[in-house]
C-alpha cells in the first residue's frame, strides 16, 4: 500500500473510535460448574469459590466467582462468530483481518471489581472502542493495537465491574527474526556423572525421577554415598536408600560467570540444597533469576534430561503453601516480598485454562494453527495469566482478601514446557473509605523474559475475621 492508502486505511479504522457497541448478554448466568472448571484449571483452592458453607462466613456472604473470571462470563464460546457490523471492535477486526492482520494477541488487561459475582448473576457487557494505534513493528509482527473499555452490569442493571483491554492485530511472519540459533550444531553435553555400584543407584533413581538419599539401618542419611556407616560399622552389600520428598532449602550458592562452558546456560546458579531428609546436595537453582536467589529460600526438586541416559536433579523455588487464614491490614508491611511461585507451563494448563475461560481461539489449543499464525507453539491466553496472577496474590494474602482491581501487561509468551515464576511485593497500603487497601506489584518471568507485569489492589480485613 502507498502512504496515502495507509493513511486512508488507518482513518477507516480510527473512524470507529469512540463508538460503543450494542450490549452483549452473557449466555449463562454465573454458575458453579464454570467456577469449578476455572478453579481446577488454575489450581485455585480458595474455598470461597467452591465451598458454600465456608463462603457464607466470608467477606462476600455467599459463594463467589473468582474475580478474574469477569470477562470469561461474556466470552462468546465456541460458536460461529457473527460480527455485528455496528460493533466497533468487530468492525475494526473485520477490516484488519481483510488486510492480512489476522494474528491476534492480547497485551493488556485491567479489571476493576465493584463487587464479587455470585451464582445466578447474569451479566451484560457494553464495549467502547477507545483507541486504534498507528501501524507498529512489534516482536510478533507489524500490526495495530486496538484498545477497548468494557462495562459489566448484572441483571438488575447494577454496575459490577469494568475492563480496559488491549489487543495486537498483526500480520504473521512480519516479526523480528528470532535470535540466531546454532542450527545443526549439537550443543555439548554437561559433564557426565561417572558412577560405580556404590553410586549407580542414585543415578538410576534420577532416571526414574526419584531423588534417592542413602540410609543406614540406624536411620542415618548420608550424601554423597558411603560404603560404611562410621557410626555403627554397618557395611551393607548393597546400598539402601529412601526417596526424598524433594523439598529443601538453599544452604548456600555460587554463581559462575567465568569461564563459561558451552554445555551450560549462564547466568548459572549452583546451589547447595539442604533436603528435609537432613543431607545437602549440590544442584542448580532454576526458574528464578540470580537476583531472586537467597540463602534459606524453600526449594523443590525438578528434573533435567541432560543426555539420553542422564537425568539430573534441579531445584526450583517451592510453590508456596496457600494461606488458610487471611492476613490483616496491620500484618502487611510496605516492601514485604511475596514468596516466589513457579508455575510449570504444561500444554494441559494452557488448553484447560483457555477452555475454562471460554476462549476457543485456536492459538491456545491447536499447535498447527499457532504455527500458521506465526507462533512457535500454542501459548497461554490472557485470562489464564490473570487467573494465575489472582491465585498467586490470593494464596499469599489469604482467602478473604478482596480484589479491587487487577492490572497486567503481557510480554514474552508462555509456551508449553517453560516455567513461569511469579514474584511480587507490597508497594503501598492505605485506608480508603474505611477499607485497608494493599497494593501488590507482581511479575511472572519465564525463560524468554517477563510474561506478565502487573499490579493489584486488595482489601485486607482491619481485624482478623472470626471464622470457625
Amino acid at each position: 500500500m502507498s502512504d496515502a492508502d495507509d493513511a486512508t486505511f488507518l482513518a477507516g479504522l480510527q473512524a470507529h473510535v469512540g463508538a460503543t457497541g450494542t450490549a452483549v448478554a452473557s449466555r449463562d448466568a454465573v454458575n458453579e460448574p464454570m467456577i469449578r472448571h476455572w478453579c481446577d484449571a488454575m489450581e485455585d483452592a480458595n474455598p470461597n469459590y467452591t465451598d458454600p458453607e465456608h463462603a457464607s462466613g466470608g467477606p462476600h456472604g455467599a459463594l463467589a466467582a473468582p474475580p478474574t473470571m469477569l470477562n470469561a462470563w461474556t466470552m462468546l464460546g465456541n460458536i460461529p462468530r457473527i460480527l455485528d457490523p455496528n460493533d466497533p471492535q468487530g468492525g475494526v477486526n473485520a477490516k484488519l483481518d481483510a488486510a492480512g492482520y489476522v494474528g491476534v494477541v492480547a497485551t493488556n488487561s485491567e479489571h476493576v471489581y465493584k463487587r464479587y459475582l455470585h451464582p445466578g448473576d447474569l451479566l451484560t457487557s457494553k464495549q467502547k472502542l477507545v483507541e486504534v494505534s498507528e501501524e507498529k513493528q512489534t516482536g510478533l509482527g507489524i500490526g495495530h493495537f486496538v484498545t477497548t473499555e468494557t462495562e459489566y452490569y448484572d441483571q438488575t442493571g447494577e454496575h459490577v465491574g469494568s475492563m480496559f483491554f488491549r489487543i495486537l492485530k498483526f500480520r504473521p511472519g512480519t516479526g523480528r527474526p528470532a535470535a540466531a540459533t546454532a542450527g545443526g550444531v549439537e550443543r555439548p553435553k554437561r559433564p557426565r556423572p561417572s558412577s560405580n555400584p556404590d553410586s549407580e543407584w542414585f543415578w538410576e533413581g534420577c532416571r526414574e525421577r526419584e531423588l534417592r538419599v542413602q540410609t543406614f539401618s540406624d536411620g542415618t542419611t548420608v550424601y554423597p554415598p558411603m560404603v560404611r556407616n562410621p557410626r555403627t560399622g554397618e557395611m551393607p552389600d548393597t546400598p539402601a536408600w529412601q526417596v526424598s520428598s524433594g523439598r529443601g532449602s538453599l544452604y548456600s550458592y555460587a554463581i559462575p560467570h567465568h569461564p563459561q562452558v558451552p554445555a551450560f546456560d549462564y547466568p548459572l546458579v549452583v546451589g547447595l540444597v539442604e533436603l528435609e531428609e537432613g543431607v545437602r546436595v549440590v544442584s542448580n537453582v532454576v526458574d528464578c533469576t540470580p537476583a531472586q536467589v537467597e540463602v534459606g529460600m524453600p526449594l523443590e526438586v525438578c528434573w533435567l534430561q541432560a543426555d539420553d541416559d542422564v537425568v539430573l536433579p534441579q531445584f526450583r523455588p517451592a510453590r508456596p503453601e496457600r494461606r488458610t487464614t487471611t492476613r490483616t491490614f496491620d500484618e502487611v508491611t510496605v516492601g514485604e516480598k511475596l514468596p516466589l511461585c513457579p508455575i510449570p507451563i504444561t500444554p494441559t494448563l494452557i488448553v484447560s485454562a483457555a477452555i475454562a475461560s471460554r476462549d476457543y481461539q485456536a492459538v491456545h489449543h491447536d499447535r498447527d494453527d499457532a504455527h500458521n499464525k506465526g507462533s512457535k507453539d500454542i501459548f497461554m491466553n490472557i485470562l489464564t495469566s490473570s487467573g494465575l496472577s489472582g491465585r498467586y496474590i490470593n494464596d499469599w494474602a489469604g482467602p478473604d482478601a478482596v480484589f479491587k482491581n487487577l492490572k497486567l501487561r503481557l510480554g514474552a509468551p508462555n509456551y508449553p514446557y517453560d516455567t513461569m515464576t511469579l514474584s511480587g511485593s507490597v508497594t503501598n497500603k492505605e485506608i480508603v473509605d474505611g477499607e485497608g487497601i494493599v497494593t501488590i506489584a507482581y511479575q511472572g518471568l519465564n525463560s524468554l523474559g517477563a510474561h506478565v507485569t502487573g499490579t493489584a489492589d486488595i482489601a485486607l480485613p482491619l481485624v482478623a475475621l472470626a471464622r470457625s
Binding site: S199, A254, P256, N284
Partner: protein, 399 residues
Amino acid sequence: MSITNNAGTTNYAGTTAIAGIGATAFTKDSGRTPMQLAVEACVLACEDAGLDPSRVDGMVTFSAEQNPEIEVARNLGIKELKHFSMIHHGGGAACGTIAQAAMAVASGQADYVLAYRAFNERSWHRFGTGVQANPAGAEASATQYAWTSPFGLLTPASWVAMFATRYMHEYGATSLDFGRVAVADRKHAATNPKAHFYQRPVTLEDHQNSRWIVEPLHLLDCCQESDGGQAILVTTLERAKDLKGVPAVIAGAAQGVAEDQHMMRSYFRDSITGIPEMGLCARQLWAQSGLTTADIQAAIFYDHFSPLVLPQIEEFGFCERGEAKDFIADGAIELGGRLPINTHGGQLGEAYIHGMNGIAEAVRLVRGTSVNQVPGAENIIVTAGTAVPTSALIIQKYR
C-alpha cells in the same frame, strides 16, 4: 642454640631448619619448560645454602607436580636418593612437603631434603579452567566429581564461592571484607620487585569494580595463574648451622584432614564456615612450638581466594569465629598492622606457586631480608591450600 619448644610433641619441631630457598623468576610466560624451572629452583636453593646439589638425598613434592623427582634428581647429579614422597591435594601439600622433609631429616632417613614445585601454569595448562569434563573411570577419584561437575561447579573459584556465600550469610561479612585481603596483598606486592603486581596496588573500589568470576568472588579475589618454580632445602638444625646462611628454624610443621573431608567441596559437614583441617594444623603447631598467637609477628595465609583467608585468622585463634571481618577492618593485616600477612604480596600479588613462595617469604622474614620486613619478626605462620587437605608451619628466627 635456643629451642623454645618444650611442648615436645614431635622430634622435628625445633630441631630441623630451612637452610636454603631458591626460586625462578615468576612470570606469565616463562618461555622455558617446567623441568628447567624445577631444576633451576632446586639449584638456587642449594646455592643459597652453600650445598652442592649432588649431596641432596631426599626429595618431596606434590602429587600434582609434573616434574618427577627422579628426573629432577638426574639433573641435579644426585647419586643416592633415600627419601622421596609426594603429597596429594594440590596446594594443600605446600607446608606438608616441609613437614615430611623435616620428619625425614629428624629421623635420619635423609640428611638434605629438597621440597619443590614448578610449572607453567599460566602459559601451558591453565589452572583456572578447572575440571571441564569429568575424569573418566569408575574409581572414587573420578566418581567424586559426579556430585558437582554436572551442575557446573567446575573451577576452584566456584568450589570456594559456595563457602564464601555461607560465610557471608552467617557472619554478615561482605565482599568488601574479602576486598581488604586483596588490598593488603596488592599493597605488599607493590613494593616487591619479584611480584607480578609490583608497583600496582589496588583500592577497595578497584576490587568492587572488578568483574565477577564466580559470585560472590570478584576477579581481584582470585589468585593469579603463574609460571615459575620454588624450592626449599630442609636439613637438621645442627647441619644447617654448618651451612652458608642463617638457619630458619622449623618450630612447627603439621598436616591436617578433618572429618568428612572432600577435595575443595566439604559441603556436607554440620558447618561449612570454618576450616576444621586448618584448625587441626593450628592446634598441632601451638603444641609443637609452645607458642601462642601473642608470639606471632606475621603470617603467610594461603590466598588462592581471599574469602578463605578470614576463617584462617579465626582457626589460628587471632579472633573469635566470624569476627575476622572486624579483626581486619582497621588494616591489621597490612604492613604496620597487628598481624601483617603475605608480605611478599601473596598469591594474589606476587605469584601463585602453590604456596611454596609463601614459605620462602617466611624464611626471608626471620632472616630479616624481606623487601617488606616486619620489625622483630621471630615467629611466622605459613599455611597451605584451604578447603583441601592442608598443612601449616611456624618458621622461627634462629638465635
